[in-house]
Symmetry: C2
Subunit: 229 residues, 2 copies
């Protein structure tokens, strides 16, 4: 957590968030009003936060990772715009460490070169668009970070992603998987494009597929930037 | 800066870095040995840090943003591998807030959907590969973050990138530019694909090109995730 995020939490009168994330910061929320909601309650959560803020309260809404990457930041701004278009309510989006860079750090240095970030969740995005982006990222030799790689109800997407990448990259391409990146209980696996889908990849995992230059050096993923050593 | 980064600086015996970045954290380096190098001294800097660490010193090497995104992390691991292959020297890569998410937060919430990160610097990468990745990112309707968008010696690349995107996206596509993202003196502009290249974009700037869904709401860039409100 950054110093700026901690300060915002300390200054807030009300703290709103998904209960699992609020549990992670329980030592910082003491004495304040806390509004906890379930995982799929994103809209409800943001509406509550916006209503409280429009009523004059100082509200912090908590995301894990970075609120600006598949997080709550966009929904807060959309809901505020609907509720009070043109409002001058001050909103600070406080950036954090997103799963892509937390997972990269745990694996070594795979994001030293151009990369793409793609969510495999088709809850809000048609699979055809996701598949097309995977194809283009694979074609462009982008290092590729997969968010929401697999859930109980969605087992096949990771294999489809793997098939797409195998059309453009060698089966030996290094792939890293990190569960709970940057959190307690972090787990790290270095694998390859042929075998990574057999790892325990779930919604807590982030997958990083190397590009054609990515190597495993002493157990760590490294994508060279191109310096001549 | 995260709590973990601050702790690592406090625990280091020697702090190595580019002098401009060391100036930003002068209040944290007091009393310790400091090794400062110039901007293009990346290899020298990492070699010094690795040598000192192999000699038994506790060394911190400082990057701005996230060391794992076009930063020093990869070079440190490559140089360590060359100097002492198979070494068990503990190396911790400590993730931070990279310019992509710091700039996104300053602009609103443009990274709510899949995105690509591309550096326009051809110092270490052939321009043909950069141009191809720009083309594929544009085709895939990725929100696209440009690092190192323009330098004194490299004025044309930003216009070439603009031309590529104009082939696939409307001239009204929202584009944000942030100078000194997340630092003192931060400057923020909300523009569009037709006009953004006329802004004072330089090596301190990060450019975020919206996708087909990105909107400007009350002066802020927002890419909807797809929730029905």
């Amino acid at each position: 957590m950054t110093a700026r995020a901690r300060k915002a939490l300390e200054e807030a009168e009300v703290i709103v968030g998904y209960h699992t994330y609020l549990d992670l910061i329980r030592d910082l929320t003491g004495g304040r009003e806390v509004v906890a909601t379930g995982m799929t309650g994103e809209i409800e959560r943001c509406c509550r936060a916006v209503q409280l803020a429009l009523a004059g309260r100082k509200v912090a809404i908590v995301s894990s990772g970075d609120p600006g990457v598949y997080g709550m930041a966009g929904l807060v701004l959309e809901i505020l715009h609907q509720a009070a278009p043109g409002s001058r309510l001050p909103v600070a989006i406080i950036p954090g460490v997103t799963a892509a860079t937390a997972a990269a750090a745990a694996l070594g240095a795979p994001l030293m070169h151009d990369f793409a970030v793609i969510s495999l969740s088709d809850r809000l995005t048609p699979w055809e668009l996701i598949a097309r982006r995977l194809e283009l990222a694979a074609q462009g030799d982008f290092v590729t970070v997969l968010y929401n790689p697999r859930s109980h109800g969605r087992q096949r997407h990771l294999h489809l992603a793997q098939e797409i990448f195998l059309r453009y990259r060698s089966p030996e391409t290094p792939v890293g998987v990190v569960r709970n990146a940057g959190r307690e209980g972090e787990e790290v696996w270095v694998s390859d494009l042929l075998k990574f889908a057999d790892l325990p990849v779930d919604m807590l995992a982030t997958v990083i597929i190397g590009n054609s230059q990515t190597r495993v050096l002493d157990g760590r993923l490294v994508t060279p930037r191109g310096y001549r050593l």
